[in-house]
Symmetry: C2
Subunit: 310 residues, 2 copies
């Protein structure tokens, strides 16, 4: 008997990871989005419901990241079936935690299981990417890649490259109750970048990648800073400088904006340091008048997975 | 009895390595510069002679990369001795093969041995860098770093990070008899770079670094291309497009400008491929009216070393 429904979860993620704009990201163990894909008789992709979000999300299948991702999957595989999606948003909207990507990822993972296609994360990647592009206006894999594979991932145009990280490396992502529009955050990147800034940022990227591969904490500490994008976006987040300082004062190897913000993240050598920093970062947001919550997670957190099938 | 002279060689190198402008470079097994440091009674750094160069190089100790590097070393260690340098240039001038860096590197390695200081490559790095800055107008370690350590090296402001490469990885560097002025080559980088170009180049850098660490040839092939600097400098090198095409048609994983040019390099999975491509690249330069010579070398070529001491 064939599968009639499949439910997948996809984790939130830290996009850009300070040094790999649009390229690098890592999964978080929480929060997550959850999508159920069920067969329906009508030959179309539909959204049954979206729950868990305070904000209205498009129920129109052509405008929603999850349904668009599934449509791309069906089209590429020339499969003419009807699928209904039930979306449970666990990731706050416009938080910089990759929420739109996670819905697309959970949807293609669920649809692939429903259709018994047995596709690898890399095979699902272009479809999740196509879905996420609906929300962000451009296809970039920094969130989608790590949400599919788990851990820290380099997502190129057509490949997902897992990047090993030192044992125990832990992130905290502190999300304030405040919205930064992704398109606004991109607008401040329209002006070009001078060579010195690009070289400094490339040096940081290279140090983080070499440090992760060589399990060299000091090299990661030396590189984990965004000297290119963060200076232009910092002003969009109330209290950013103080929240970052709180992270660094509590042992962060580096701290920066997650995705387009307003979430601020840091990396730490262990969970205790991340938890202590998280509390200080929440306080710093409070000083700026914002209520915030902290998510502590291994950088090598698991990726999307099927949680129910029937 | 104390040492009275020491002779060191430092290899040519491929600066930038296509994806790491000012940051990444690798040594070549040939050509090399050779510097002898000898004790003299006068408390000064002097240049006895410079041989092997068709072009006049400054004999004034304050203007020469080798002597300036030794002066920086003596100053930092508060050593008040006289040293005379004999410089044998094996690396063609203004070739993009790191010749001015190599003289500085060989000089500090020789001086360190002469003074029995027993300094590590990383301890010698700031002095060689200070020397090289005299010639290039700025301190950047892409040549100096790999010439000191050997192999492929990420050179940050204060660290040398060896990057492992796949077994057998071989470079060819093809040097035409033509000069590109380093300062001219920098001038065309004055205009800033748009975000899309920077992200594409960062993706290439990340792929090459991950590919080298993970010994993944296809990842290196996918990343080894300069989409940022090369397009602006290519026109400074007669026949560049044809020479690059010859490399790629003969199996290069990627090919680009070495340093500021005019040398063009490629990376290959083995020596046979590099040799065959080298011949084709020499022919392509000939079609552009230039006589060229090819240097084939492991990417993991050895760094500077003492060859004589007494």
């Amino acid at each position: 008997m064939s599968v009639t429904f499949a439910t997948a979860t996809a984790p939130a993620s830290v996009g850009n990871a300070a040094v790999g704009f649009d390229l690098l990201g890592h999964a978080l163990s929480a929060p997550a989005d959850r999508v159920t894909a069920s067969r329906i008789s009508a030959p179309a992709v539909r959204i049954a419901s979206i729950s868990g979000s305070r904000h209205a999300l498009p129920l129109d299948a052509g405008s929603n990241t999850a349904s668009r991702a599934v449509m791309a999957l069906l089209e590429a595989h020339r499969i003419d079936v009807g699928i209904e999606l039930t979306i449970e948003k666990g990731i706050p909207l416009a938080s910089g935690l990759g929420g739109s990507a996670a819905s697309a990822v959970a949807a293609v993972v669920a649809a692939s299981a429903l259709l018994e296609l047995d596709l690898t994360p890399e095979q699902l990647y272009p479809f999740a990417l196509a879905g996420e592009a609906v929300a962000s206006g451009a296809a970039h894999g920094d969130n989608v890649g790590c949400q599919l594979l788990g851990g820290l991932v380099l997502a190129t145009a057509d490949r997902l490259v897992p990047i090993p990280v030192p044992e125990g490396l832990t992130a905290v992502a502190v999300h304030p109750d405040y919205q930064v529009n992704t398109r606004d955050a991109r607008q401040c990147l329209a002006e070009p970048f001078d060579l010195a800034t690009v070289v400094a940022q490339s040096s940081n990227l290279a140090q983080v990648l070499a440090g992760c591969h060589q399990s060299d904490i000091e090299l990661i500490r030396s590189g984990l800073a965004d000297v290119m994008v963060e200076p232009r976006r910092a002003a969009l987040i109330p209290g950013f400088a103080e929240v970052k300082r709180a992270a660094l004062e509590h042992g962060a190897l580096g701290a920066s904006i997650s995705g387009a913000g307003p979430t601020v993240f840091g990396w730490f050598v262990d969970q205790a340091a991340a938890e202590s920093a998280g509390r200080a970062m929440i306080e710093a947001f409070a000083d700026a008048g914002l209520v915030a919550e902290a998510f502590v997670s291994p950088v090598a957190a698991p990726g999307a997975r099927i949680v129910e099938i029937g």
